[in-house]
Point group: C2
């Protein structure tokens, strides 16, 4: 999840100033429209310690018309607050219709902190998250717009920030809690991921913001807020209840795919050795999984011509035919269209002990269906949460879930398209649609980035596979599968010599 906010995105001072000028004007206009439309907006600013939440809140205050906004800081609770149910303090700070409430700290803070310090158990934490989800849904049904920001810093970036602050004599700016919280970075990250996943709904989504560069952070938050307000104001077909707050105009941006190192490759000999090794391992482990009655679901997504098919064949070749199955997902049948989109995937859940490979999958909802308009915005936005719940149930049952995005560069894709057109027995593989999809490369990259942000979880992570070199990709996939199985089954893993 957080990998999408560790991409090193930054904005120069000059660019910032230029863009800020435009953004401020637009935000003020949006704020006037909100007042006229009587829509209350709740902006939540959360994130890791040291991500600059305070500066961000100050920046928002300087951009917005403060006569129609208010900032609430949730700090230690007062006597007044402790003598009432926990949610009293939150209810009383809700913005009335037409106003923006910016919450620095929120109903998320207490459970995340308590859980990270292990003063709250898993069940209590989940209960707290359910209550939050209900609370936010209650208000969105009543017309409120929620825009929730999570400012993220990698462990290294967090450390660098503090060192820099100290060096520049601004140590006083570092909260006394920073050190205590910082020492628990990993626990916080795990807990935060869970909190975000459980409360990331179509009508109240989380926006992960890369916070290492303050200018990029603030600009992204400002733009996201603007886009969410605009989407909410746009008259929709169904005026009430409100639809999803809407996607952010991505602009020219870096996605998680840009961090995939496409230079990886393998020599022919290395490839042969490793392929052989990991195939043998996979065969052994798939039998072990069968004995332990653990099934495996492997999802393959990727660009057209990225080499999914070839990789899948290498996996299948390694596993006994009784244990493995490939399900190719094409357009849904009439029968399938007459049901919820997840129904067709539920019906094909493998039995215990089997390996099932999905050549394309339920992620079509947030990729092709999103981009081709087959799913409405509110539909694909809530799909992230629905998919997470679906995979959570697989994992709870003991299923091992592996998800691969096979990535290639646009240049490599073009090369392969042209090559295919020249070879008679490959010509059929390339269609008009492939060329059309290619034109939407940037949109797809954004959709993939969003998908990874919302659905890459500890229990079912996305693996972005560098695919320009097919040999490297195949070995990488086999190896990843073996590692997942070995970990889940608590089996030893033999490494290639």
């Amino acid at each position: 999840m957080f990998e999408t906010a560790e991409l090193g995105r930054a904005v120069s001072k000059k660019d910032f100033e230029e863009q800020e000028r435009v953004l401020r004007t637009e935000l003020l206009q949006a704020q006037r429209d909100l007042i006229a439309a009587k829509i209350p907006v709740v902006v939540i600013v959360s994130g890791v310690e040291g991500a600059g939440k305070g500066s961000l809140v100050n920046r928002l205050s300087s951009w917005l018309d403060t006569r129609a906004m208010e900032v609430h800081v949730f700090w230690d609770s007062t006597d007044e607050e402790r003598e009432r149910p926990r949610w009293w303090r939150f209810w009383r700070t809700l913005p009335p219709r037409g106003r923006i409430g910016v919450l620095f700290g929120s109903w998320y803070t207490h459970p995340i902190v308590e859980r990270a310090f292990e003063r709250m158990d898993a069940g209590e934490f989940e209960h707290a998250m359910h209550r939050i989800k209900d609370f936010e849904r209650t208000l969105t049904l009543d017309g409120a717009l929620f825009v929730k920001f999570w400012a993220h810093l990698s462990k290294e970036a967090q450390h660098d920030r503090w060192v820099a602050d100290e060096a520049s004599g601004r140590k006083w700016e570092v909260s006394p809690l920073a050190e205590e919280y910082g020492s628990r970075y990993d626990a916080f990250l795990r807990t935060s991921e869970q909190a975000i996943r459980l409360t990331d709904t179509g009508t109240s989504p989380w926006y992960l913001v890369e916070a290492a560069n303050p200018r990029y952070r603030d600009l992204t938050v400002g733009r996201t807020l603007l886009a969410a307000i605009r989407a909410r104001l746009k008259p929709t077909v169904s005026p009430a209840p409100p639809t999803a707050p809407g996607v952010v105009d991505p602009g020219p941006t870096t996605t998680v795919l840009d961090r995939v190192d496409l230079g990886c490759s393998l020599t022919k000999n290395d490839y042969k050795d490793r392929l052989d090794h990991w195939q043998r391992e996979l065969n052994r482990l798939s039998w072990a999984a069968y004995r332990e009655r653990r099934s495996t679901v492997a999802v393959f997504e990727g660009w057209d011509a990225a080499g999914k098919g070839g990789a899948i064949r290498r996996v299948i070749a390694a596993v006994d035919a009784r244990l493995a199955r490939v399900i190719t997902i094409a357009a849904p049948s009439d029968e399938e269209r007459a049901q919820h989109y997840l129904w067709r995937f539920w019906r094909q859940i493998p039995r215990d002990g089997r390996l099932t490979i999905y050549d394309r999958s339920w992620y079509g909802r947030v990729l092709v269906e999103r981009l081709e308009g087959f799913a409405r915005q509110d539909e694909w936005m809530r799909a992230y949460n629905e998919i997470n719940t679906f995979e959570e149930q697989l994992v709870e049952h003991g299923t091992i879930v592996a998800k691969f995005w096979v990535h290639i560069s646009p240049e490599e894709q073009l090369r392969r398209f042209e090559e295919r057109q020249k070879i008679p027995w490959k010509m059929h593989k390339i269609t008009e649609e492939d060329w059309r999809n290619r034109d939407k490369w940037d949109d797809y990259a954004v959709a993939v980035n969003d998908m990874v942000q919302h659905t890459s979880t500890t229990a079912a992570p996305w693996v972005l596979v560098p695919g320009n070199d097919k040999r490297y990709a195949r070995v990488k996939i086999l190896e990843t599968l073996c590692r997942s199985l070995a970990t889940a089954l608590d089996e030893d893993l033999a490494l290639p010599e």
Copy 2:
């Protein structure tokens, strides 16, 4: 909650046959409309053991066109099912668009049984209910209509049913599980109440059905189903996502208010003694509550001129002025209208140790706002769940919640109205609005019945107070309050001599 399904309602054979003829025709027409509108309907038949769920399902099969419906019985799970995540069996039985799926047993069965037998802890059970809520919401957002029936029998009626079956030589009709489950009636009831409360949402509401009389049971289920389908088919202002399935046309029916014994009364002397006794007790207990930092919320609702004001004065007179406060709820202010309707109640939550009396309350949402059309149907239908969550949070914080509906007969109300009009200093108490409300007596009675059904919980039960005799009502209220406080504080309670 279940008191609304223990009213002794019955239908004669002749009435049943007449009404069945009409109902069948209408159900078949509704089913045809469903097919055209491509709406999938999920009917859940649950309830206590012995309530005749099987016969009810058979009746529905005989009424509906079986070519567009299917019945699924969830019995012991198969190998196929056990080897997949728990929800697989449910997903694969979902009806496609345009069809009705009747589920005999459902996703509720397993958690309720496990919890009643204490094989599942409170946290796991709540987790299961949250998952159910998510699942049903996922499908309703996709266009499905949920109609959930809970067939209820009192402990006595359950017992009588078995005795009768045995006597008539139909013991074979009694499930072998009956005895085992019957012996745990109370545990099942508690668990069921919790399950219903946690999953009774505006878009997927529960319908409690009194099952002691099979004809009444089947007719009520048939009518409710018909009304829910019709409400769903009716083109609404906002076509998608779907609104609440709609209320049932109550018809001439018995409500929970008809079971209040209005003959209760007290002599003047008894009244004096008891009033004095319970006021002294309340004073003592309110100080004890203050010391223990437990606050009390007492809600007063009732017919116009039922005597709420007089009763409230007797309560207040008993408690130190520093500890008690009366909040009179009138029409919301501008500031309050600019927020979610619960906001104004949240802001007035008492501090620990205090007693707060609400002269009318948040229940206005499901009474006057419902009947005057100030709240849309989807709004007041989801309010039950919102109110339950609100009170649950009060109770979790340690607040003692008491809710009184002061009941009088329409004749007694008329007498009081006329009396007031004759007395100069009481004339102002009676307005045009009171007369208008009076005309809607039957509608209000249904709304009160629905309110009690959806919001009378173990932790925050409704007390229906017979109010024709003001003296009896006042003493009853004081006594009830004392008992609630004594139980919560674990204090002894002195009884009057």
